[in-house]
Structures are given as structure tokens and as C-alpha cells.
């Protein structure tokens, strides 16, 4: 991973952010600084991590507004790595992104560069999700052996929770005490444990998606092909409604079809991320499958807070990693977890609904 790769990575991570996951721009600046100071970051497939090599999954947690104002010191990963090595009694072999969608997909480049470690070509979500336990490691039944948080002051907190739900609850409280922004490692695991418990190939996927969009004269087509996505609608945003509740920004979005899609209306339900797409009361796509709203011309991802009336957009949906479609996957991040009283149906089985 070099400086030149960062623009493509950022675009790809924004698209995998499905409307959430935080702004990628600050992550790019952090990564550029760290690469200039500490060198480029090798991206390695999971197969190249030794079976007993320790993988350090990292993510920033906290309020986005705070993260945008009180930037990290850059030393937090060093504190966490040292603590994990003390706890496990051996060196960390590689860094992994816990969440490839949004800023947490780009920032690990900075953290890996700072530590002089490779970045594993994998992550814990394959997209963005709002809660700490919504990771493949949890779904795969990996124990949350330890959660380590570091803040801008150098405070280090180690949590040994009984399960992923408690990990979310206590980590959130610690994060608040740290000023609503912290760096976190959870689900530290070996190369062997990671196989089947993480989602592989997502860093190179983000890079490929971003590069396809950047290098194409027809970005939207290039994006659709790169993702093998279903285009739910091409149209214009005619209504955006937002409200807050339960720590989430909730809302809905209505898109009116244009061109060949004239006469159609698509509704997208939002809770930080785009979660459900409906047409004529019928489901077109649903979480955990990915739903992203992009600019119709540039194919740039449009985050949920940037949605505005009148934008010309395309809504794309494509399948999530199979681990999210398991019983435990859907119990962790299926539509009912977000309060939608619907059964999950894979997006590729819903495409024929279109009249």
C-alpha cells in the first residue's frame, strides 16, 4: 500500500460504508502522514500470516463529530500493540481493519505503518455496521478474549468481557470516559483462528472498486461491474427525512426514477447506514446485504448525512459475505436486529420483483 493507492482505497471504503462508517478524508491524511514517516504498508493475504501469528484487529470508536475535531495522537496503536504483546506473550504479526466500510477501512493503513507491520487483506465486517459485536468474529463464535482501548492522553484500558454484547457496553462506557473517541482492539486472534472467522480479500476489494471507478470514463457502469451489483434504481432524491434516537441517526430516503426508471419510487430506510430498500411496499434489498447510494455521474458514495433533495443518484445493492447469511449472522445483524419486522431474503433473489 503506497501513497498512490490511498485515493482508490478511500473511494472503495466509502462505497463499502453503505452510507455510514464515517468520513474517509481524515483517514487518508493520517495514512499519508504515517506512510511518509514510517514507510509503505505491505498488504498480505490471510494465508501468509503464520498459524500462530497474532492479528491485531483495530478500529476507531466514538462520536463522529468528536473524531472530526479531536484527532488521534497517532501513538495509540503503539500502546495497544505493547499491551497485547504483554498479555499474549508474543509479538503481533499483522494489523487488521475491524470494519472495511468508511474511515475504519482507511485508517488501519496509518496504524499498520506506525507499527511497521503488514495489513491483513481482510476485515471483520466486509462493510460498515454501528455496533462493536457486529463482526464476523462474533458470528463465528470466537471468544472476545480481550478488548484494549487507548486514548489521546495515552490512557490504556483492558477489558475482559464475558461476551460480545458486554464488550460493546463496557467499551462504549470507556470510550465516553476517554472523551468520546478512542482506538480499540478486540477479538485478537491468530492466523489459524482467523480462517473462517474474518472476511477475506476486502482490502484488495476496496482498492479494486476504487480503482475501477477512478479509471473509468463511465464510473457508474464500472462500479456496477466491479461489485456485480443490482442497480435498484436510477433517479433523483425527492425526500430525505432524518431523526435521532438510540444513538443512531435514523431516517428514510425516497428516490424517484428517471430515464428508463421513470414512474418508479424506491424508499431506503437508514440507521447510520442504508439498511432496507423497498418498492411498492415490497422488499428490494435488506441488511446485511450492502445498499449504497452513489452519485449518478461520478459513482462516488454519498453518505447518509450528505443526502439532499435533487441529487441524481443510483442505488446499488450486492450480496454480503455468506457468514452474515447464517442463522447467527442474521441474529447479529439481520433486519430484525434493527427493528424491521421482515424476514431476510438475499438481494439476488429479490431482483425479479422489478415489474
Amino acid at each position: 500500500m503506497t501513497l498512490d493507492d490511498l485515493p482508490a482505497l478511500a473511494r472503495g471504503c466509502a462505497i463499502l460504508g453503505t452510507g455510514g462508517g464515517g468520513h474517509v478524508e481524515t483517514g487518508v491524511l493520517k495514512a499519508a502522514k504515517a506512510i511518509a514517516e514510517f514507510g509503505e504498508v505491505p498488504v498480505v493475504p490471510l494465508a501468509d500470516v503464520p498459524p500462530d501469528g497474532l492479528i491485531l484487529p483495530l478500529s476507531g470508536i466514538g462520536a463522529p463529530t468528536v473524531g472530526h475535531e479531536m484527532l488521534m495522537s497517532g501513538e495509540e496503536p503503539v500502546l495497544i500493540r505493547d499491551e497485547v504483546e504483554r498479555l499474549f506473550g508474543r509479538p503481533v504479526a499483522a494489523v487488521m481493519s475491524s470494519e472495511i466500510g468508511g474511515s475504519n477501512g482507511v485508517s488501519p493503513v496509518a496504524w499498520a505503518a506506525r507499527l511497521g507491520l503488514p495489513l491483513v487483506d481482510a476485515d471483520g465486517m466486509g462493510r460498515a455496521f454501528p455496533e462493536v459485536q457486529m463482526v464476523a468474529m462474533y458470528v463465528a463464535g470466537r471468544p472476545v478474549n480481550v478488548v484494549v482501548l487507548a486514548d489521546v492522553q495515552g490512557n490504556l484500558t483492558t477489558i475482559r468481557p464475558v461476551d460480545g454484547l458486554w464488550a460493546e457496553r463496557i467499551a462504549r462506557a470507556v470510550c465516553v470516559a476517554c472523551g468520546a473517541s478512542a482506538l480499540m482492539a478486540d477479538y485478537v486472534l491468530t492466523g489459524e483462528e482467523a480462517r473462517g472467522s474474518v472476511i477475506e480479500g476486502t482490502v484488495s476489494a476496496a482498492l479494486a472498486i476504487g480503482a475501477a471507478v477512478l479509471n473509468s470514463a463511465e464510473p457508474l457502469n464500472a462500479l456496477r461491474e466491479a461489485l456485480d451489483a443490482t442497480v435498484l434504481i436510477n433517479g433523483k432524491v425527492i425526500d430525505v427525512e432524518r431523526r435521532t434516537g438510540g444513538g443512531f441517526v435514523r431516517g428514510s430516503l425516497i428516490i424517484e426514477g428517471t430515464g428508463d426508471d421513470r414512474g418508479r419510487l424506491l424508499r431506503v430506510e437508514i440507521q447510520n447506514e442504508n439498511l432496507i430498500a423497498l418498492e411498492d411496499g415490497r422488499l428490494r434489498a435488506s441488511v446485511p446485504d450492502l445498499i449504497t447510494v452513489v452519485d449518478a455521474q461520478t459513482a462516488d458514495a454519498i453518505s447518509t448525512e450528505s443526502l439532499r433533495y435533487g441529487q441524481r443518484v443510483a442505488v446499488l445493492s450486492w450480496p454480503c459475505d455468506p457468514i452474515w447469511r447464517t442463522e447467527r449472522g442474521l441474529a447479529t445483524a439481520g433486519p430484525r436486529v434493527f427493528g424491521y419486522d421482515i424476514d431476510y431474503t438475499p438481494v439476488e433473489e429479490l431482483t425479479h420483483v422489478r415489474p
Binding site: 478524508e25 481524515t26 491524511l29 493520517k30 499519508a32 502522514k33 504515517a34 466514538g62 462520536a63 463522529p64 463529530t65 468528536v66 472530526h68 475535531e69 479531536m70 484527532l71 488521534m72 495522537s73 497517532g74 501513538e75 496509518a110 489521546v152 492522553q153 495515552g154 462504549r172 465516553v176 472523551g179 468520546a180 425527492i238 435521532t244 444513538g247 443512531f248 441517526v249 447510520n272 450528505s306 439532499r308 433533495y309 435533487g310
Partner: protein, 519 residues
């Protein structure tokens, strides 16, 4: 005339990239004199010609000029061209936080080289709840100032969460004054930008770099007025369409950026007598659409980039369409984006040239009445189709700006206003005010004065008191900027809930505005 007040006339000036426009308004808002002069490279001589033209037109009434309001894109151009910028010592108060992205990292290298005397992240700043991240390290601050003394023309101070907790920046500013002297100007970020550290820091450093640029325009204006023996009070227009007293503007020069579109929207409002409308400023190359809401330009949701630098300034929400009087119609019927620009008076068919433009299409369709060469009839098919395309582009832009509400009027100003048809879909009516081609100068002359404050407040208990306190602060800022204390009122309160916080909190933005106070 002796029964007349001696200071009841106002002069509005807009120094644009191409033209410097000036108008004289009576107390009743009548346009008494107007001019359009080419903008000069040094700004001052163009300013002089424009002022001279309108002052000469006034004759003996010159002594009745009480106020002169100036809007200018000069600061923007100085940044774009890296010209006349001061050297800035950029100090961020936030260590040990924030070092993952140092000051000015994202700036284009040549701009950063032109502007930076030195930069440092020093201990300081606050958490979101007001707890200090670190105490201000006065020793480290003095040591840094010792290194930049003599090298820095100005100092920029940016503290983490200073828009909510500004005391530490003020404390640091006092030390800067003690170390570097009163003559080195200081930009404090809490007076300039909103939350979002890097964007606010960028704006604060740009502000510090622009002191000489705006000081030069101010001095040029004052010199011209002095030559004519005029003792008028002077103001600068800022990006939200309001005015600041000229000495205040000299402290916040970056706020003049974006005043052009804001003035044009306000001017269009004044000339048409409307307070809620869409405004289209049709030029030779492009058309700027803006929205007039309760008398003010609607602001953009996102911050703007200036010369490759991200800021969190809110500017008038402008949709620029590459469509104007000089827009070239291609042989395949394509409309723009190329334009003949100022060469239209030589190149368009309607002026005896041989390039088909939208002006020619407008002439053929009877929208414009030009004396001059006829547009050849063989182009009728091509130009009629092009005008249909242009109308569809205009209607689409109007739809984007109106958010689908079709009951509002469209005010059309600018030299290419004739291109817009009377029956444009999506608007209630098309309004074409007199003097629309100098709407921006009129906008400068009639603007109100405002003050804005942004902070974080609790969402539950204490919310009401916090809004009251912030409103008082915003009113005070407006009065400091020149507003009449008796009639200054809060015109806008925006509350945005913040997610993932321990105590429910809101980002609050309050704007107060009022007419100019008595001199």
C-alpha cells in the same frame, strides 16, 4: 437640496474578476447612479474609476454619501494565484491529541510554502465536555514564538473544541501579543470557523495570510474617498450576504470570500422586492443559481474548498451551470460548456461574427432584441434545438434548487438574463428587475450586519438557557460588526443532535442580524 440630510446616500461596489460595478442608492432605495468598469490588476485603479464614475454622476450630491459598502473576490483570487499572501505562524493547541495529522498537511505544496512561516502542535485544547486536554504550556508557546519572531507576518491559533471553549485561544493570544508585539495580527479559530479541526484550522491560517491583501483594498478605497474629500463610513460584504465594519473585516479577511454570489442574491431580492425566491445570475459563461430564503441566501450544507484547501465555511448554496450568453452551440447541437466569454461582441453571429452562441439562439427566438448582424436562417434548426436543450438545463437546475416546490418566483439578473424564458417550468413566474445587471453592487449597498456563533449545548436540562446565552453572544457579535443594537435580532437557530455521546448534546448555530447602526 439644503433641507436634505447630508449622509443619506449609499454606494455599493462589487469588485469582480472581470468588472468592478458601483451603484449609488438613495435612502428610499432608488438607484441614482451606476457604472460598470473593468477590474484592474491592482484592484485600486478599477475601484477608483468606478467610484469616480458614480461620484461624477452625482454632482453636488456627492457630499450626501454617508456609507460605502464593498464586496470583493480579491481575497479569493489572492489565494488562487498565491499573490500578496502573508507568512503565518500556525499554532495548534491540542497536544498530545491531534498529532496524527499535522497542521497544513493537506495543503497544496506551493500554497503551504507561500504561507507558512512555521507550524507546531503545542499542548492545549479541550475535550467535548470542556475538560482541558492539556493545560496551555506557556513555556513551549514562548519558545515557538521566539523561533518565528521576525519571520511571521501573522499568527493563527487553533485549539481543539475552541468553538465551544474559546478562553484558551484568548489566553494564548495575549502571550503572542506580549512576545511579538501588538502589530503582529492574530487569528483565533473560535472567531472564524466551526467544529471540524482541520477545516477550521485551514480557514484560520488563510485568514492570517490575507491581512495585507484586504488591508490593501481597504487602503485603496479610503485613499480614493479621501481624494474626493468624502468622509463616508466603509464596510465589507461577507460570505453570508451581510456586512462587517471595515476594521472588523480587516481582522477577518477570509470572511469576504464568497461575498459575490451572496450580494447578487441579496441585490436581486432588493431590486425585485421579494424575500423568498430562486435567483439566477446569468453571465457570459455560466449561470449561478441561488435560493433566497427569508431575505437571506440559503447556505450550502457542506464546507467549501478554496484554492485546494478544505474549509468549513458555509457559503451561499450556489448551483453553477455552464450556460450563459456566450455559450457555444456545437455543430451537433451540443450546448457548451465552451463559451466565447467576453469575445462575444466579436464572435457571435448577432454581433457580426461566425460562432453560433446561445445569444444567437435567443435573438432568433425573439428573446433578445439586438441591433446588429442578423443570424443566418440556415442555423434556425440547430439553434432552436439548442435553446430547447438550454431551457431543459435551466428547468433542471431550478428543480434542484427549489426542492420540488413550484410556487416560488425566479428572479433573473445578469447580462444574459434574456436567455431565461418567461414560462420556465417549476417556477411561479419569472421576474426581471430593473438594474439587474448590477445586482451584486446593489446587494452590497443594502446588506444587513450579522454575527454568528456555534457551540455545543446539552440536549436536556439547560438547553433553553444555553440557547439564550448563545443568542446573546451572536447579537453581541453582530453589534461589534456594526449592527444597530436596538434592532439586531436572532434570525436563525439551528440545532443538530450529536450521536454516540454520553449526555445527549446538540450542535447549536445562532445567527443574529440587524440594519447598520447610526454613524
Amino acid at each position: 437640496m439644503s433641507d436634505r440630510r447630508t449622509d443619506d446616500l449609499r454606494i455599493g461596489i462589487d469588485v469582480g474578476g472581470t468588472n468592478t460595478d458601483a451603484v449609488v442608492l438613495s435612502a428610499e432605495g432608488r438607484v441614482l447612479a451606476r457604472t460598470k468598469q473593468p477590474t484592474s490588476a491592482d484592484v485600486t485603479s478599477g475601484l477608483q474609476s468606478a467610484l469616480t464614475a458614480v461620484l461624477d454622476a452625482l454632482g453636488d450630491d456627492v457630499r450626501r454619501v454617508g456609507r460605502v459598502m464593498l464586496g470583493t473576490t480579491h481575497a479569493t483570487n489572492a489565494i488562487l494565484e498565491r499573490r500578496g499572501l502573508g507568512r503565518v505562524a500556525a499554532i495548534r493547541l491540542g497536544g498530545p491529541a491531534t498529532t496524527s495529522v499535522p497542521p497544513l498537511q493537506s495543503w497544496p505544496a506551493d500554497l503551504s510554502a507561500a504561507v507558512t512561516a512555521d507550524a507546531a502542535v503545542l499542548p492545549g485544547g479541550h475535550y467535548v465536555d470542556g475538560t482541558p486536554i492539556s493545560a496551555l504550556d506557556t513555556g513551549a508557546l514562548r519558545a515557538f514564538l521566539g523561533r518565528v519572531a521576525g519571520k511571521a507576518d501573522a499568527v493563527a491559533l487553533t485549539g481543539v473544541f475552541s468553538p465551544a471553549f474559546g478562553d484558551q485561544e484568548r489566553e494564548a493570544a495575549a502571550i503572542v501579543r506580549a512576545e511579538l508585539g501588538e502589530e503582529v495580527p492574530i487569528s483565533m479559530s473560535h472567531e472564524i470557523g466551526t467544529l471540524g479541526l482541520l477545516e477550521r484550522e485551514n480557514a484560520t491560517v488563510l485568514n492570517a495570510a490575507l491581512y495585507q491583501v484586504i488591508g490593501g483594498v481597504r487602503d485603496g478605497l479610503h485613499a480614493t474617498l479621501a481624494e474626493r474629500g468624502l468622509d463616508a463610513t466603509t464596510y465589507f460584504a461577507q460570505n453570508d450576504g451581510t456586512l462587517m465594519a471595515i476594521d472588523y473585516a480587516a481582522r477577518y479577511p477570509v470572511l469576504t470570500i464568497g461575498s459575490g454570489p451572496a450580494n447578487s442574491i441579496r441585490g436581486a431580492a432588493f431590486l425585485s422586492g421579494l424575500t423568498d425566491a430562486i435567483v439566477a445570475d446569468v453571465g457570459g459563461t455560466s449561470t449561478d443559481f441561488g435560493v433566497l430564503s427569508a431575505g437571506f441566501p440559503r447556505e450550502s450544507a457542506a464546507g467549501v474548498e478554496i484554492g485546494g484547501v478544505r474549509t468549513n465555511f458555509r457559503m451561499p448554496d450556489i448551483l453553477a451551470l455552464a450556460l450563459g450568453g456566450g455559450t457555444v452551440v456545437g455543430p451537433d447541437g451540443a450546448v457548451g460548456p465552451r463559451s466565447v466569454g467576453y469575445r462575444i461582441t466579436r464572435e457571435a453571429y448577432a454581433f457580426g461574427g461566425s460562432t453560433p452562441t446561445l445569444t444567437d439562439a435567443g435573438v432568433l427566438a425573439g428573446r433578445a432584441d439586438l441591433d446588429g448582424a442578423a443570424v443566418p436562417d440556415r442555423l434556425r434548426g440547430l439553434l432552436t434545438a439548442a435553446l430547447d436543450t438550454a431551457d431543459a438545463m435551466l428547468a433542471d437546475a431550478v428543480d434542484r434548487m427549489t426542492l420540488g416546490k413550484t410556487d416560488r418566483p425566479l428572479i433573473v439578473v445578469g447580462g444574459g438574463a434574456f436567455l431565461v424564458p418567461d414560462g420556465l417550468p417549476g417556477v411561479a413566474e419569472v421576474v426581471r428587475p430593473d438594474h439587474g445587471d448590477v445586482a451584486n453592487a446593489v446587494g452590497a449597498a443594502i446588506a444587513l450586519v450579522s454575527g454568528t456563533l456555534e457551540t455545543i449545548i446539552p440536549a436536556g436540562d439547560g438547553r433553553r438557557e444555553a440557547i439564550e446565552a448563545a443568542s446573546e453572544d451572536a447579537r453581541r457579535r453582530a453589534v461589534q460588526a456594526g449592527a444597530d443594537p436596538a434592532t439586531t435580532e436572532v434570525v436563525e437557530i439551528t440545532e443538530v443532535p450529536m450521536s454516540y455521546l454520553p449526555e445527549p448534546a446538540l450542535r447549536l448555530r445562532v445567527k443574529a442580524a440587524g440594519p447598520l447602526g447610526t454613524i
